[in-house]
Symmetry: C2
Subunit: 669 residues, 2 copies
C-alpha cells in the first residue's frame, strides 16, 4: 500500500512536520513500570510547586509585604497538604474500582448518567486548556527570571513553545515513557538539591535574604479571612494533575490498579514534601512575589548564588517540568474530547485519529485556545490562576460523589452476585462502608474548597469559568440532540426506501466558450439526458458575443441567456431551476459547472470559482444536483506536451500517479 | 426581479450593514462643481498639515529641543512649499493632457508600457494602504491629545474607525460630494481661525509659550545635514494626496480639465498657506514634539486656552479631515486595483463590483492591511511615517517622466495629425517644449527627493518599502503570466473541440446504509449508466455489518469493500479509480458522494464532510468527475411533516422559495 497522503506533493510539508502515517494496528497499550509511570503522570502535579507558593504570596502581599503577613503562607500550605492527602486516599479507591481508567467523566457517566458526565467533561476540558496556558506561562516566567532581557518577548516565546509542542504531539508521542522520565527526575533532583543545600545553609546561619527584588505591589488591603481564603484558593492549584493517574491506569504494567495506586501515593508524598519545602524556604530567604522574578528563581539564586551553574540548572529543570506538565494536557484533552464526541456530545471529527494515530482535531483545538489565553492574558501566570483549578475541583467532587454511589451499589450486592452493565468494579467489597466514608468526606471537602474558590476568586476571573462550564454543557446537549435528530431522519427501519430511477434534465452553466466549455458539452452528451446550456447575462454585451461564439464553436444544442440586472450570478439561475422543478415534479435537475483545476493553490485562488456560489445557492433545493466537471490546466512549472493540451484531455497525471498506475508504490521501491 | 441575495435569511446581516443591491445602470458619473470637488479631493492633501510639521520637529528634536534647532522647521517647510508649487504646475499639465483621468498608472501605461505601469501601481497601492494607517493613527492622536485617558486604547480606537469606514464604503459612498464638503470646510475654517487668532495674539504679544508638554526624547545626535534632510523627508508627507485630482478628473463638471486644474491650484495654495502657518505658529508657541499631545493640539490649546470650546472644535475638525483623508484611499485603492486586475496584473476578483456597485474585494484588502499596519505599529504615526510617501514620490516621478515622453510625441505631430492609440491628448500643442521642461524638472526634483527619502529613512523603515515594491511588481508579472497561460490553454482558435459522448461508469461512495444511501442509489439508477457502490473499510468490523445491511435494505447492485489499514479515506479510492481509468481508456468515471444539507452552518460543521477530502484527492485525475448528491435534513427549528421526511424527498423549500415559485417577490409586495 502507498504510505503517502492523498494529494502527494502538496502534503509534503505536513509530512515533514508530522511524520509518515502509522498503521491502525500500531495502536496498542503501553506498559509502564512504576518509576516511569511516575515520570509520565506526575509532571502536571509536581510542576505546580513552581507557582503554587508564589500565588499564595501574591495574594497575601495585597495586605502588605511584612514578614508577619507573608509567613501565613506556611499554615496555608499545611492546609493544602492535608487536602492533598485526603484526595489521594480517595483517588486510590477510584483507581482500584476502575481498573480500565477512572477519570471523572467515566465515573460520572457510569454512576449518574449524561448530565453529570457532561458537566465533568466540560469542567475538565476547560481546565486542560488552562493547564497548558498556566504551565507554559509559568515556564516562560522561569526563563525570563534568568534572562530578564527576554521579558518583553514572553508572549511570543510562550506561543512559540505551544506551536512546537503542537507539532511534536501531532507526530504522536510514542516514545513517551523514557524521554519523559529525564526532565521529571532532573527537576526532582534539582529541587531536592536546592532544598537540602538551602536547609543546611539556613541551619548553619549562612543563608542570606533575597536581594534586588521589586515587589509586585505594596499592600493596601486589610488582612481579612476572605484574603486568607483567597490565598488558599490560589495555592490549591498545587492539586491540579493529581487525577492524571486515575485517567491513565491502563498504561501501567499488571497488576495495573496496584501499580497505579502505589505510584499515586508516591507522587502525592513527593508533591507534599516539595511544596512544603519550597514554602518554608521561601520564608527563610524572605522571598517577595515580583513581576520580574519567580519565587523559585529567588530561592535558587539565594541558595546557590546568582553566578552558580546550579542556579541556572534549577531554573532549567523547573522550565522543563512545566513544559512536560503542559504536554500531559496534550494527551488528556484530545482523549477526553474523543470520549465525549463518541457519546455524541461533541463534533464527531474529534474521534478521528490522524495519520499518526493521534486525535489531530483535539490537539489543534487545545493549542489554539491555550495560545489565545496566553495572548489575552499576556502570558501572566497570576492573571490566569483565578480561572484555574475550579474545573479540577468540580471534577474531584463529581468523581468522588460518583464513587459514593458506586460503593453503595457494591454494598448492596449479595456474595457471588455482580453489578451488571457497569464499567467499574462489579463484585462485592467488604470494606464498602469505610470506602463510602472516605469518598464522601473527599467529595464534601473538595466541594467546599470549590465554593471557596468561586467566591474568593469570583471577581478576579472565576466568574468566567462559572459561566463557561454551563455554557459548554448546554452546547454539549445541543450537539447531542442534533446527532439524535439526524439519526432519526436517516433511519430506514420500518421504511421502504425510494430507489426508483427518475427522469433527468441536464443544465450546463457557462460563462464563456472555450476548451472547458467543450469538455462540459462532451460530459453532458455522455450523460445521455436532455441538455441545455445556460448563461447568466451579468454583462449584456458579453452575452451577445457569447451567443455568436456558441454557434461558431459548439454549433449544437441550445444556449439560453438569462438577464441579471443586479449582477447576481446565482439568484436568476435559482429562479429558473425552481420553475423547471415545478414543471417536472418528478425529475432530477442536474446542473453542470466547469471547474478549472490548477497545479497550485495560489493559481487556483486567481480564478473566480463561482462554482462555490452556485453550490451554496442550490444545495437547499430538492431534486437539484450540482456537478463540478474538472478541467485540468497546468500553466506553471509543469510543461505539457502540446498534443495532450490540445485535445481537451489536458491533465498531466500529477506526481506519484504514474507509479500507482503500475501498481508500484514508493514505499516498496 | 427579486432584490435579495441568494441564500436569503443567511445574508440578512450583510444586507443590514451593506444595504440593498443597486442595479448596474445606477453606475454613472458624478458632476462636481469646483468647491465641492475641492472638498472631495483635497482632504488627503490638506490633512497632512495635521502631522507634517510635527514629523519635521520630531526628527530635529533628535539633535535637541533648543529653539535654535527646532526653528530649522521654517526653512525646511519653505523648501517643501517650493516642491508643492513645482509638482502642482507639472500636474496641471497632466490634468489637461489626460482629461479622462491621468493617474500615474495610466500615464505610465500609456507612455512606457507594462513594467513602469506595474511599478507605479505597486508604489501607489502600497501608499494608499499607508494613507489609511497614517491618517487614522494621526486622527486618533488628536483624540487622545484632547482626552489623554484614552491613550491606552488608541490601537483599538483606530481599528474600530477602520472597521466603521469599511462598512460605510461597502455600502458605497454615493452621497459623497455634499457630505464630504462639510468636514473639509469645517477643518479649513477652524485652522484658519486658529492661525488668525494666533497671529493677532503673537503680534500683540499676548501669545504664551506652550506648557506641560513632555518632549518625545532628549536630543543626543549631532545636527548633521543628514538629519536635516531626514526632517525634510518626513515633512514631505505634506505632498501626499496632491495627485488625487489627476486621478478623478472625470468627476468634475465640464469643462472637466479646466475645472480640475483650477481646483488643483486652489488646493495647493491652501495647502501651502496652512502648512507654513502651522509651522510658523508652532515656532511662535515653542511647540515640542511629544508622545502624548500632537503639535496641532499644543497650538490650539495655547492659542485658544485649554478650556475654550474652540480648542476642542479645532481638534474635532482635524480628526474629521484625517478620517476623510483615509476615506479617499477607500475610493482610490479599489479603483486602481481593479484597473490593474483588468490588465491581468492582479486577481480577477478585484474587478467585481459587489451588490452596491463598489469593488468589495479591494475595500476588504485595503482595510485588512491598513488595520494590520495599525496594530503592528501600535497606531503611532511617527513609526509609520518612514514607510510613507516613498510610493507617492515614485508615482510623481514616473508620471512626470511619462508626461515628458508624451509631450515629445505631441511635439512631433504635424498640424492636423493625431496621436493614435493613446489615452492622453492627441493633438499638436505649440507649448510642448515648455511643458517638457516643466515635467522634466518636476520628475528630476521628485526623483531626487525620493532618493533622499530612501537614504535618510532607510534604516527606520523605508527599506521595507524598497523591498515591497519590487516584490509586488514581481507578483504582478507572475499573475499576468498565469492568466496569459490559462488563456492559451483554453483557446479554441485553430482547434476542433472534442464534443463526442463517451462511455461512463458510475461509482457510489458509501459510509453507511441509510436514507441518504437510498437517495444515492436512486440518483445512480436515474443516470442510467453501469453503477457500483464502494466502501473504504477504515474499520473492518463496520465493513462487514455494512455488507449485511446493504443486502437487507438496498438488495440490488454490487457493494465493493476496499481495505484501508492506514485509515486513509481518499488514497485507496484514488488507486481503485486509477485502475478503472486504465481499464477503460475512453470512459468517464462519475463518482457520487452523499452530502447531508443542514439548515444552519453550525449543524453543517458537525458533519464530517468527507466529500471535500475526496474532491481534493480526485480533482487531479483526468476523466474523473465527482458529484455531491445533496440530501436535505432539517432537525433544528424547522419541523417537517413526517411523510416528507420518510420518502427521502426531505427538503422544505427554504424560506423565500415559496414566493419565488408563485412569481411574487418581496420587493413587489
Amino acid at each position: 500500500m502507498s504510505d503517502q497522503s492523498p494529494g502527494d506533493a502538496r502534503f509534503s510539508l505536513s509530512r515533514l512536520l508530522i511524520g509518515r502515517p502509522l498503521e491502525t494496528k500500531a495502536l496498542a497499550h503501553q506498559h509502564l513500570s512504576r518509576p516511569i509511570g511516575l515520570a509520565v503522570f506526575a509532571s502536571d502535579a509536581l510542576s505546580s510547586t513552581a507557582y503554587a507558593t508564589e500565588e499564595i504570596l501574591i495574594i497575601l502581599a495585597l495586605a502588605g509585604t511584612g514578614a508577619g503577613i507573608l509567613q501565613l503562607s506556611v499554615p496555608i500550605a499545611l492546609a493544602i497538604a492535608l487536602l492533598i492527602i485526603v484526595v489521594t486516599i480517595s483517588y486510590r479507591q477510584t483507581v482500584h474500582a476502575y481498573p480500565n481508567g477512572g477519570g471523572a467523566f467515566i465515573v460520572a457517566r457510569d454512576n449518574f448518567g449524561k448530565l453529570p458526565a457532561a458537566i465533568a467533561a466540560s469542567a475538565l476540558l476547560s481546565d486542560y486548556i488552562l493547564t497548558v496556558a498556566v504551565s507554559i506561562s509559568a515556564g516562560v516566567a522561569q526563563i525570563t527570571s534568568a534572562f530578564p532581557e527576554l521579558l518583553p518577548y514572553r508572549v511570543g516565546i510562550a506561543v512559540g513553545i505551544i506551536a512546537i509542542m503542537t507539532v511534536i504531539n501531532m507526530r504522536g508521542v510514542r516514545e513517551s515513557g523514557v524521554i519523559f522520565s529525564i526532565p521529571t527526575y532532573f527537576f526532582l533532583g534539582m529541587i531536592f538539591l536546592t532544598l537540602i543545600i538551602g536547609s543546611v545553609r539556613y541551619f548553619t546561619g549562612t543563608l542570606p535574604d533575597v536581594t534586588g527584588v521589586e515587589p509586585v505591589h505594596s499592600g493596601v488591603q486589610a488582612l481579612t479571612l476572605f484574603l486568607i481564603l483567597r490565598a488558599f484558593s490560589s495555592g490549591c492549584t498545587a492539586l491540579t494533575g493529581i487525577e492524571a493517574i486515575s485517567d491513565g491506569i491502563t498504561a501501567f504494567k499488571e497488576p495495573r490498579s496496584k501499580n497505579a495506586a502505589s505510584t499515586l501515593a508516591w507522587m502525592a508524598s513527593i508533591l507534599i514534601v516539595m511544596f512544603l519545602g519550597v514554602t518554608l524556604l521561601s520564608r527563610a530567604v524572605h522571598a517577595m512575589p515580583s513581576e520580574t522574578e519567580t519565587v523559585i528563581s529567588q530561592i535558587a539564586r539565594t541558595v546557590h548564588g546568582p553566578g552558580n551553574p546550579l542556579y541556572l540548572l534549577t531554573l532549567a529543570g523547573t522550565t522543563l517540568i512545566l513544559i512536560m506538565a503542559a504536554n500531559t494536557a496534550y494527551a488528556d484533552f484530545p482523549r477526553l474530547a474523543a470520549m465525549a464526541a463518541n457519546d455524541g456530545f461533541l463534533p464527531r471529527q474529534l474521534t478521528w485519529r490522524g495519520s499518526r494515530l493521534v486525535f489531530s482535531w483535539g490537539i489543534l483545538i487545545l493549542a489554539s485556545l491555550a495560545a489565545l489565553l496566553v495572548v489575552v492574558f499576556r502570558a501572566r501566570t497570576t492573571s490566569l490562576i483565578p480561572l484555574y483549578a475550579v474545573g479540577v475541583f468540580l471534577g474531584f467532587t463529581i468523581s468522588q460523589a460518583g464513587m459514593v454511589k458506586h460503593m453503595r451499589q457494591i454494598g448492596k450486592l449479595r456474595p457471588g452476585e455482580t453489578l451488571q452493565g457497569h464499567e467499574g468494579a462489579q463484585e462485592y467489597d467488604p470494606h464498602w462502608r469505610a470506602k463510602i466514608l472516605v469518598s464522601a468526606f473527599g467529595a464534601v471537602l473538595t466541594g467546599v474548597v470549590m465554593i471557596i474558590f468561586a467566591v474568593t476568586k469570583f471577581t478576579s476571573g472565576a466568574w468566567f469559568v462559572l459561566v463557561l462550564i454551563p455554557a459548554l454543557v448546554f452546547l454539549f446537549f445541543r450537539v447531542y440532540r442534533h446527532y439524535q435528530g439526524v439519526r432519526a431522519a436517516l433511519s430506514l427501519s420500518g421504511v421502504t426506501p425510494d430507489l426508483r430511477a427518475r427522469p433527468m434534465q441536464t443544465l450546463i452553466l457557462i460563462d464563456d466558450v472555450h476548451a472547458e466549455t467543450a469538455r462540459l458539452v462532451s460530459f453532458a452528451k455522455s450523460l445521455g439526458h436532455p441538455w441545455r446550456a445556460v448563461h447568466v447575462a451579468v454583462n449584456p454585451d458579453k452575452a451577445e458575443r457569447l451567443q455568436q461564439r456558441w454557434q461558431e464553436r459548439i454549433g449544437e444544442g441550445e444556449l439560453l441567456i438569462i438577464p441579471s440586472p443586479y449582477r447576481h450570478l446565482a439568484a436568476p439561475i435559482r429562479e429558473y431551476i425552481v420553475r423547471l422543478l415545478e414543471e417536472n415534479p418528478d425529475s432530477y435537475v442536474h446542473v453542470l459547472l466547469g471547474h478549472l483545476v490548477m497545479d497550485s493553490y495560489w493559481e487556483q485562488a486567481l480564478h473566480q470559482n463561482s462554482a462555490y456560489i452556485f453550490n451554496i445557492a442550490l444545495t437547499g433545493l430538492p431534486r437539484v444536483v450540482v456537478t463540478q466537471v474538472p478541467y485540468q490546466i497546468y500553466t506553471g512549472n509543469i510543461l505539457l506536451p502540446k498534443f495532450l493540451r490540445a485535445n481537451g484531455e489536458a491533465a498531466s497525471p500529477g506526481p506519484g500517479l504514474a507509479q500507482r498506475i503500475d501498481g508500484v508504490t514508493e514505499s516498496e521501491k
